[in-house]
């Protein structure tokens, strides 16, 4: 009995050794595997998915010893998984992160590697100014942006023409447009209020046009939401709600559901980031007649307000990070540098994504809406970073709820400002 057991143990041990030997022989010869996680699934972000794949393929072709494995998750699940992985120090070697408030806990926990060497080296002067800086903390940059977005108001030209409406220049014009559409039974604006951040765009713009480009930034940075203009903007928003400007039941609808109302031409206007532009220009799955009907305009100015029409709500979207705990950090950094450069050259033309690196519009052939937007971006006086990204995570969650409550008319504009103030001061 005993002898048999020893024999079995010996056999098992031998097996384990053989298997592990195989494992290590596979790892020799300078073979490097870089794990990458991104958030563009083939189903919903086909163009980005294809471009990423293309860049990886060409990198693997140029670097025979490198193998890049990708894992793809949809936005919200991606965020959750990133958090869980970082808790166990098993972040992928390369991944995507958001700016400012999102980045902070990861950086303080020493999860992301500083990418300053890339910024000083290969990628020097490649970025639109102010974009890479959004990922800097304590003087070091921890991620490099791959997209830059602003939020225009898209509108359906056909619906506007049907009711003899012009692109609104001022808030009064805008309210007139809303009123005309609402009176004729057309949903003026479609909004997916379930997600909070969608409504935040409207509030941010009103604050900007009313109180000037720096008011919101300053309020969040100093944790002081007491400026009366901040409550007044909230009041103007509720007036808009009272006019029936938004689609029915918007607080229970997701952004995708709201978007489909615009895409089905049931609503006149839709404010969303420029990541939607491919759906109005290059996406082959969208019929050309619909694309031709869609235009965009700058958010109107408010008479007597301190803001101008050439400031935008927006900001760099996701940026590539390299894990501090990665075993192949140098290889990963090389790949990130390659990725950013390739992405910068191809993303507008192939995926319809505006990169955070500078684009020479004269050299490329693009749909007019893209050229217009890139030019707007070029002449923009300021891009105000999304409020929820600026805020700390706890305050951002509260902001979503308060925006819902404001749009749903559950709180007064004054309470909205007061409660935002409280949540900012809580410092979470």
């Amino acid at each position: 009995m005993k002898r048999k057991a020893i024999a079995v143990w010996a056999l098992m041990l031998a097996l384990v050794m053989v298997v592990s030997a195989c494992g290590s022989s596979g790892g020799s010869g300078d073979k490097v595997t870089i794990n990458m996680m991104h958030l563009w699934p083939e189903g919903t972000s086909k163009t980005q998915y294809t471009l990423v794949k293309e860049i990886i393929d060409s990198y693997e072709k140029e670097h025979k010893n490198v193998k890049i494995k990708t894992e793809i998750l949809e936005n919200e699940q991606y965020k959750d998984k990133l958090k869980v992985l970082s808790g166990s120090n098993t972040l992928p070697d390369v991944g995507l992160a958001w700016a400012a408030g999102f980045l902070e806990p990861y950086v303080t926990a020493n999860q992301f590697a500083s990418l300053d060497d890339l910024l000083q080296g290969d990628l020097k002067d490649k970025f639109v100014s102010g974009t890479a800086e959004a990922y800097a903390l304590g003087g070091k940059t921890y991620a490099l942006p791959v997209e830059l977005n602003i939020v225009p108001v898209y509108y359906n030209k056909e619906i506007f023409a049907k009711y003899n409406l012009q692109v609104p220049q001022t808030w009064d014009d805008f309210k007139n447009v809303v009123k005309t559409l609402a009176d004729n039974g057309v949903t003026p604006i479609t909004l997916g209020g379930k997600e909070g951040w969608t409504g935040s765009f409207w509030y941010m713009y009103l604050v900007d046009r009313l109180g000037g480009a720096d008011l919101l930034d300053k309020a969040i940075a100093t944790n002081d939401f007491s400026d009366p203009k901040l409550a007044e903007a909230a009041k103007m928003l509720q007036e808009l709600v009272d006019m029936g400007a938004f689609n029915k039941g918007f607080n229970g609808l997701s952004n995708d559901e709201a978007k489909s109302e615009f895409n089905n031409e049931k609503a006149g206007m839709y404010a969303m980031g420029t990541w939607e532009v491919p759906n109005f220009t290059t996406n082959p799955d969208v019929p050309q007649e619909f694309k031709d009907k869609i235009g965009f305009f700058r958010f109107p100015t408010v008479t007597g307000g301190a803001g101008t029409s050439d400031t935008w709500v927006g900001g760099p979207g996701v940026g590539l990070f390299v894990s501090e705990k990665s075993k192949v950090k140098d290889e990963a950094k090389k790949f990130v540098s390659y990725f950013i450069q390739q992405w910068g050259e191809k993303s507008v033309t192939e995926a319809g994504v505006i990169p955070a690196t500078k684009v020479d519009t004269s050299k490329i052939n693009l749909p007019p809406m893209f050229i217009d937007l890139l030019n707007e971006l070029g002449s923009a006086k300021k891009v105000t970073l999304y409020a929820d990204v600026q805020m700390k995570p706890g305050a951002a969650q509260e902001h979503y709820k308060l925006i819902q409550a404001l749009f749903g008319k559950e709180i007064t504009p004054e309470d909205f400002a007061k409660k935002t103030d409280d949540s900012l001061k809580a410092g979470k």
């Binding site: 029915k248 607080n251 229970g252 308060l402 749903g408």
Partner: protein
Amino acid sequence: MDKVMSNKRIIALYVLPSIILIMAIIYIPIVLTGYYGLMRWNGIGSMEFIGFDNYSALLKDDKFWDSVMHSLVFALLSTVTLALYLIVALVLTGNIKGANLFRKIYLLPMLLSSVAIAQLWLKVYHPTTGILNTLLVSLGFSDPPAWLSDPKYVLGALFVPILWQYAGFYILIYYAALKNIPNTLVEAALIDGATPRQIAIRIKLPLIMEVIKVTIVLAVVGSLKYFDLIFVMTGGGPNGHSEVMASYMYRQAFKAFDFGYGSAIGFFLLIICLVATWVIRKLTETKDPIQYS
């Protein structure tokens, strides 16, 4: 067999693997959750011991108590609907035609995942193009409510799919219990001239009392920790009007980066569930349970 079962060491050996598993994936995490609740921790960086601050903040957190209220409403409603399921099961066990088919129809929703059910009902409740509102409009209601975005209706609107989802499960349990009742008892009552209703209330119900108690515990505890369907359908909104304990815990831990506080909520949820189970056991205690034969 008897020889094996009398050997304590052998018993211990066979029980050991599952004990280790249960310890590792249930009991140890529970203890750890309670421990994390004592920390200020964003889930990523280093922890800082802050004693019972999270727990005392929790007791003063209005939003948390709102979510507790919503969970309790769900628990109460699910308990009440058990009566409905019981009636259906009683009808199905009475010799009606097609009982088998109906049983399968009721069981069907249980085979779908919560997320699929949520997606389905999101379409039903869509404020303009949903089946429900289309129907209401065609019946003459000019302005039917937007079910999921109206604070007045959102809890009720969420409960309907939950009721629908679990119908099969509870009906199946009751059905099996009722089928277990010896036919001789029912026949004896019939000979004595009992009506079907008398048979149901005086004979069948007392005999399956133990099963009913178990389902009450299942329903209450299940609703207290309910999460997935609500998370997909409303995400706790609008403005927290459908936030339940589990979704609030998720939001605090994963969205607001406050893992310590989230853990405190999780631990509290566990305690509430334990207390609820204990209270239900006490309330439904009977001195001498009725036995067959």
